[in-house]
Amino acid sequence: MIRFLLDGEVIEVEDGDPTATLLDFLRYRLRRTGTKEGCAEGDCGACTVVLGERDGDGVEWRAVNACILFLPMLDGKALRTVESLSSGAALHPVQRAMADGHGSQCGFCTPGFVMSLYARSIGAAGTNDLSVKDVIAGNLCRCTGYGPILEAGEANPPEPADDRETAALLRAIEPGRAGPGWFAPRSSDELAALLVEHPEARIVAGATDVGLWVTKGLRDLGTIIFVGDIPDLKRIEEGPDGLTLGAGVRYTEAKEALARLHPDLGELVRRIGGLQVRNAGTIGGNIANGSPIGDMPPALIALGAELVLRRGGERRALPLEDFFISYGKQDRQAGEFVESVRIPRPAPDVRIRIVKLSKRFDSDISALCGAFALRVEGGRIAESRIAFGGMAGIPARAPACEAALTGEAWSEATFEAAAEALVKDYRPLSDLRGSAEYRLAAAANLIRGLGLEPESLFDV
């Protein structure tokens, strides 16, 4: 039995398909049709809802996409939909601003925008350090051109909310934690034991990728272990030597710590998915699913990140770059799971740059992503770590390019030579995100750019 809180009322969901989505449940069971399906893959935000978890006497809220959220992921949580905002004729100030300011045309995307702006207005996760345009980057509108929506957002700045009542109600809910075909362990030890017992089980954290296997691939996922509610997988440990992120840390939660490690890391996270995706997806999940483009891995590899894998009580550590074996294949054994990733703090003499290239700046998957960590000593490059995503079947380092840099003087000529060496490192494919020629040319130019004073499109 799954129990969650909706507008002060406990909703009990009888046992059923653990991959049934929240969106379908809202629309076709509860007949709350304000939440819309625009894409069923987490890319348009028309299904945005706000999910709350108790945090002491308060509630931590976050906007998420209901279309790829499986019902067990709601277990023990609070939910707000667009219908929650207006009681009777009284609209919420965000709704009022959207309506009065001509923020809707066809209206279909509108509830999703309302929920994203509402989430910001209550200080929900990830909104505090984002501009309004970034808060709604995961919401697509095809009619307005966004101007009036941005204005409605600006008119409703975050204000602290009193969530004690919701917190009290949440405290009284006993989550189901398991049902036919699914488990939701509450500790990594419990998870480790479950995986030894069910090595075939599918691990699901934020479902931002696996969700599509269901909504698009129409797949049956078999036994599922939901790892989104394991507190000790959510640890963020910042020390002088580096940063350790538990595999269950969501992008939103990791962003500030990563940005403190290096600003480019924070910026990279800002451009991964929309906020709803970052509020669900985890860095561990992004690594473990082994995407060939992998938004984070190139950067983490360049920084020398290390992965801790665990099976039962046994742990092993390996450099992140060794985890990716070939396209679709990772060094993860049956029953094993990614427990954490450790990222060393770059030394002061290491120059870092991380560049993602995509057709669209926000909420797009990169055509390629280059990450560069160069240690400079007395005008020479003493050490170099370069990694690219999108240039091979896996995120991978560039040994020839690194060799062309290491030991050389920091000069345009050095970077020119390194750029030319890139063809020895990669033979990229042509696909819908970019041709092999573009990937090679742009990657080489990124290397050349390292030798130049940076000029940013966004400083103009």
């Binding site: 009619c143 101007g147 700046f361 573009y438 990124l446």
Partner: protein
């Protein structure tokens, strides 16, 4: 003028939109027993269909019925003009994603799962995918069309300067946020009621009648609102509605379909890709003396609206410019890709892109300011006849351009851009001011008619109905404003209602920007009929001077006066001979101009639009808020088309970019940080349109050509003195970088 007309009133459904209570097709309560449908699609491209084994589909859990072409009692067609669009493929599969059958099941998911279980046997045939491939084998849908005036060849040859070039433009996915959807309910005596997300209920009514061997009067089609249309629900909604009607008729149960986004993008047509080749002769000031433009487009597997769309491309290959001797030739090519269709601008944007490229090319050739070349070529006194022999009588482009150049500081900013470029190693800026002149009227003359039904109740409330459909453009509120104005009542008295074929018959699509022009006139006509009756009645009643509208209505009703009326409107003055491509296809033109400033990263090809200034002419605005929304939204949509929205097909014609994860429309972050949009203060339609307003749906999309032109300028600045870059659209970072590299290598 009353209080209603000209005010920036909110969209009539604004509160419903924000509250989530505005209902779309899939939001309607389902009647018990409703069947859920999914199409079985051809996975591969062009082929002969040799076998379709549906045993596993029928046996799948939840499946109630499966229907193929053999189950259609009438004509297997959902094509609007030519009857070549099968609801289900029979012998030949024309393109990947063509429907082969439909599954009716007890749930949406069950239908989708089952639809993938068919065993399809085919003999693959060679697939024409690109324009070049189609041209090679002359797969034209009709004879190449020719629109001409004067002797272009002679004028080009005798001109002091001559150059030629080419431009390719990609298509565009509509990406309405609400996917295609329909719901059909069986009625008595074989009748059927269909709720559809469509811009063209009358056509769906007609197609379903023929498909099911019914009369039009047996079929009712209703649409309250669409979650976006943009042309993508003009003809493309028909297959979905027809499948529902077929299942409802056959199974005797309500049937609903809502397309999954990926299926929708694979199945439905898009904006036409075009190529444009030009050969132009001009004088030392860049003034064109003669020009030949050859257009070619990828139409896809069926004709759909391609002929009219390509006609409109020809109609707009002049844009605001006088072409003294001109020949425009247009080829409409059949390919084995999804059938391209209407999309905001309807071919106009592609034609306009061609001539704007010519302007940039001429300027680059002569080393002149592109704006000066554009201004030198504008229509003007004695230079006012279009390539289709219509005289331009309402030319306001020169004034709008001059005002914009002045108010946005074109000259100073052009200098600042040059200075910026001189001071940067990696970044290059570009600036361009381009105008728009867009012809208003359906170019198929008979479509320029509309009907309305106005019902006034004895309590003074007004029920408004007309043939136009609401897709977000604000048609309903504008027409309601016009009706409120006639009766001099508050806007709240006018209740907007769903568009229904059983209230207003034989309607045209809500398309060609004409929705308000046509339907508001028809509604005004109906309202004035009732108003005249009320006035006549009031004149006979001594005490009527003090009556509120509600009292007047009640008294009129007691006096047995009809408070219902139909209204009608047919656009005057227009006529067109398609054989010679001459006449007056348009009642008037809508104008505008935009100045865009962009910046390009020459290492990566990435770029941003940093500032946009727009002045657009909507005549006397019926609703400035709605009009500004159309302008901004149209601009951003056009910007997306020309910059980041890229359709990628494989060599079998399969669309690879069929979801928002791979097909990128602009987000809020792509909106230029500085956008100044103004309605042209002096705007007033010289023609007798509804309150002297002008249509606004499509024209602003083409203001975004300024972005493409500015990008061209920025790329040119990466290698000064090398001429005009070969930049094609969409100008993705990849194309921009390739263009820079090619230019540098010259």
């Amino acid at each position: 003028m009353s209080e209603a007309v000209g005010r920036p009133l909110r969209h009539d459904s604004a509160e419903g939109h924000v509250a989530g209570s505005a209902l779309y097709v899939d939001d309607l309560p389902e009647a018990p027993g409703t069947l859920h449908l999914a199409f079985g699609l051809a996975a591969d491209g062009h082929a002969r269909l040799t076998g379709l084994d549906l045993a596993k589909v029928r046996a799948a859990p939840g499946v109630v019925a499966v229907f193929t072409a053999a189950d259609i009692p009438g004509e297997n067609n959902v094509g609007p003009v030519f009857h070549d669009d099968r609801l289900f493929a029979e012998d030949e599969i024309l393109y990947p994603g063509q429907p082969l059958f439909v599954v009716a099941a007890t749930s949406h998911r069950a239908a989708r799962v089952a639809a993938r279980l068919a065993k399809v046997e085919t003999e693959p045939r060679p697939a024409l995918v690109t324009i070049a491939q189609a041209q090679e084998v002359d797969s034209d849908f009709e004879e190449p069309q020719r629109m001409a005036r004067g002797d272009a060849e002679a004028a080009i040859t005798s001109a002091p300067h001559r150059l030629s070039g080419a431009l390719a433009m990609g298509g565009q996915e509509h990406f309405y946020l609400e996917g295609q959807a329909a719901l059909a309910r069986p009625g008595e005596q074989g009748q059927v009621h269909v709720v559809s997300s469509t811009q063209h209920p009358s056509e769906i009514q007609h197609l379903i009648a023929v498909l099911l061997c019914l009369s039009s009067a047996d079929v009712t089609v209703e649409v309250r609102r669409m979650g976006g249309g943009f042309g993508g629900k003009e003809t493309q909604a028909a297959a979905y509605a027809a499948a529902c009607a077929l299942v409802a008729a056959k199974a005797g149960r309500p049937a609903k379909i809502r397309a999954d986004r990926d299926d929708d993008m694979v199945m439905t047509g898009k904006r036409h890709d075009f190529t444009a080749d030009y050969d132009v002769g001009f004088d030392g000031e860049g003034r064109i003396e003669g020009i030949r433009i050859a257009l070619a487009s990828r139409c896809g597997g069926t004709v759909d609206l391609s002929l009219a769309i390509n006609d409109r491309a020809m109609f707009h290959a002049d844009n605001c410019y006088y072409l003294p001797s001109v020949e425009i030739v247009s080829r409409r090519l059949k390919t084995h890709t999804v059938s391209n269709t209407a999309f905001r601008g309807f071919g106009g944007p592609q034609g306009m892109m061609a001539i704007e490229r010519v302007m940039d090319a001429v300027a680059a050739h002569l080393g002149l300011d592109p704006l000066a070349v554009r201004q030198a070529n504008l229509y003007g006194p004695g230079r006012d006849v279009t390539p289709y022999h219509q005289t331009v009588e309402d030319n306001v482009a020169p004034q709008i351009i001059a005002e914009l150049a002045e108010s946005a500081g074109y000259a100073a900013r052009r200098e600042a851009v040059a200075e910026f470029n001189a001071g940067h190693r990696i970044l290059r800026k570009g600036l361009a001011l381009t105008p728009v002149k867009f012809g208003i009227s359906f170019t198929t003359t008979h479509l320029n008619q509309a009907g309305a039904l106005v019902l006034v109740y004895a309590d003074g409330s007004i029920h408004l109905n007309h043939g136009g459909t609401e897709m977000g453009q604000g048609l309903m509120i504008k027409v309601a404003q016009v009706v409120a104005d006639v009766f001099a009542v508050p806007i709240e008295s006018v209740k907007v209602s769903a568009t229904r074929t059983d209230k207003v018959p034989n309607t045209s699509a809500t398309a060609a920007s004409s929705g308000t022009d046509l339907n508001a006139m028809a509604a005004k006509n109906a309202a004035e009929t009732i108003k005249a009756r009320l006035d006549a009645f009031a004149a006979t009643e001594r005490e009527s001077a003090g009556w509120e509208f509600a009292r007047l209505c009640r008294e009129a009703h007691l006096a047995r006066i009809s408070l219902a009326a139909t209204g009608f409107y047919a656009t005057p003055k227009i006529e067109y001979d398609r054989k010679t491509h001459s006449g007056r296809p348009f009642l008037y033109f809508a104008y505008g101009a935009a100045l865009s400033e962009v910046v390009v990263d020459t290492l990566t090809g990435e770029h941003r639009v940093v500032a946009v200034d727009i002045i657009h002419d909507v005549g006397r605005s019926l609703n400035p808020a709605i009009d500004l929304g159309q302008i901004e939204g149209g601009f951003i949509q056009g910007m997306g088309w020309l910059t980041i929205e890229e359709l990628v097909f494989d060599d079998r014609g399969r669309l690879l970019t069929h979801a928002p994860s791979t097909y990128k429309i602009p987000t809020a972050g792509d909106r230029p940080p500085r956008m100044n949009i103004r309605l042209w203060a002096r705007g007033e339609n010289v023609e007798d349109t509804i309150h002297r307003s002008k249509a606004v749906g499509e024209p602003p999309l083409m203001l975004a050509i300024s972005v493409f032109s500015a990008l061209t300028q920025a790329v040119a600045a990466a290698a000064p003195g090398k001429g005009l870059p070969n930049l094609d659209a969409p100008a993705t970072p990849e194309r921009v970088l390739a263009s820079i590299e090619e230019l540098k290598a010259r």
